[in-house]
Amino acid sequence: MSKKSYRQAINEALAQEMRRDPTVIVMGEDNAGGMGAPGDDDAWGGVLGVTKGLMPEFGRDRVLDTPITESAFIGAAVGAAATGLRPVAELMFVDFLGVCFDQIFNQAAKFRYMFGGKAVTPVVIRTMYGAGFRAASQHSQCLYPIFTHIPGLKVVVPSSAYEAKGLLIQSIRDNDPVIFLEHKVLYDEIEEVPDEPYTIPFGEANLTREGDHVTIVALGRMVGFANRAADALQKEGITCTVVDPRTTSPLDEDTIIESVENTGRLVVVDEASPRCGMAADISALVAQNAFKALKAPIRMVTPPHTPVPFAPQLEDAYIPTPEKIADAVRHVMA
């Protein structure tokens, strides 16, 4: 056990799995960096340094830099997975899915079904998401509702360093295509993380706290925000259960429903766009399956239906905050 950042936890998960299993390879733009360039060889480790140090240990044959051709190399990861490797491919920002989505949603996701159960495609696509970096509309999206919509994909949204390590190791060992979403603002957040490898199963939500009055379901970076909101509400005598589903597909429906059955109230917090988003998905689940338990309307806390703006003041107003979450809880308590 030692303090590790979210970035380090991910890096360690990759390194440990690569040591364990020679079929695990890593690829992406500048994942080592410096390919063909006169300076350092392991120059980058991806644009935010997450894969740094892997190439010196595992070599260029297992840590591959790529040209900027996401269709070709994400597709190559898919094809390699279907033929015997366990590639972990980095789609730098999830916002870039538009240039390679076919290989993910029509190929990787559907092979097993279309081929009558005969294909196994253990590919992991690591990708950065989320607002807060002043990176504007094309580098700040969440987009995991799109992956969640697609049958055949698994979708993982780790909320902390501990979660990231265990979920990434699980992702690599999993035999289905997995989209692993890393919130760029969390990379430097630090917590105690075991040094040895461990897995966190998919589809098992984590109750980060338990309370009596309201169930808050939150994802990724929003889990921390929900807990901050719950801290503040506690002083007002409102206690909350905060559910981190960890994976949006599979989704731990039972834990969510059970919690709402206990509290009778639901607030869903998500940083993704609201329409056909995760907040709606979870709200609908509860409205269909735990309606009788509900004492108040469900409340969703999401950004507005707008692209992510650049100016810091606007971006801060865009992202859900602990204050907005607390307000929503107060609203369902009223």
């Binding site: 079929t23 390879i25 044959d61 297992r62 591959l64 790529t66 040209p67 051709t69 269709s71 070709a72 190399f73 994400i74 597709g75 190559a76 990861a77 898919v78 094809g79 390699a80 997975a81 279907a82 033929t83 015997g84 490797l85 590639p87 076919d102 290989q103 029509n106 190929q107 092979f111 097993r112 079904y113 279309m114 081929f115 009558g116 159960g117 005969k118 294909a119 196994v120 049958p151 055949g152 698994k154 999993d174 035999n175 289905d176 589809g203 599979p250």
Partner: protein
Amino acid sequence: MQLNREELLQSYRTMCTIREFEERVHSEFSEGGIPGFVHLYAGEEASAVGVCSHLDDRDNIASTHRGHGHCIAKGCDVNGMMAEIFGRGDGLCGGKGGSMHIADLSKGMMGANGIVGGGPPLICGAALTAKTLKTGGVAVAFVGDGASNQGTTLESYNLAKVWNLPAIFVVEDNGYAESTASVWAVAGDQSKRAAAFGMPSYELDGNDFFAIHQAAGEAVERARGGGGPSLIHVKLTRYFGHFEGDAMTYRQAGEIEVARRERDPLRFFRQRVTEAGVLEAHQLDEIESEVKRLIDQSVVLSKAAPPPTPERLLTDVYVSY
């Protein structure tokens, strides 16, 4: 690359199987027994067989919407294929894929593909597996003239070269992408495209099995030896519409008849081997009759087979969920 008698007979048998399969699917489709979109490969047999006769189970291919020929050439079970096309539970994909999604990964057949340009990136991946695990395998993407413009295909040329992959791209240029002529839609030319990405290439008559076999042999040898990717451009004719039901008004009247009469790859093969005295006509005739029986039987079996059981709707989405 010399072929012995056994190999020649085998190649002819495979080409005949494709031809007969497609002719039969054509007639069964028009009788209404086959659901969905079906794209037939008849007329293009020399390409699939000329290339795939160099491949074994280490090697992978990715195909297109026009995939039956590639499947047969790569060794997929013909009964399983026919049953799949009929949507039967014992089809090669359990009836869940149909004509556009026939695959058999155990044979290195990574799937027909409903997405134009879907295959080349996958083939980079299969080639990467071969290279990484040092299996000695190669990977082949078949693409149409239409697919040769798709960004996914062009990117794959670059990636295959940059990563020095044992990959081969076969551009099957049948002159049309749906109703649009390749002379219009393909700017420049295929060999120059290969050269632009640093790949050696071949321009071939797609009716000439021997030319294709020769070039593919070189390309496969180069790939297996670590020499990187190649491109093979073959010009050929599809004997049916883009899909079954296509009235083909965009084609020249008599275009197919002329091609069938003058450039049929099967007839071309027969002529070459009999004229050279390597095989005798009756040997080839026997193959044709055998193949006919085989395909007849596959249709009989498929028609008799039951559809998938209803619970199969929900299976095979994930390995575990």
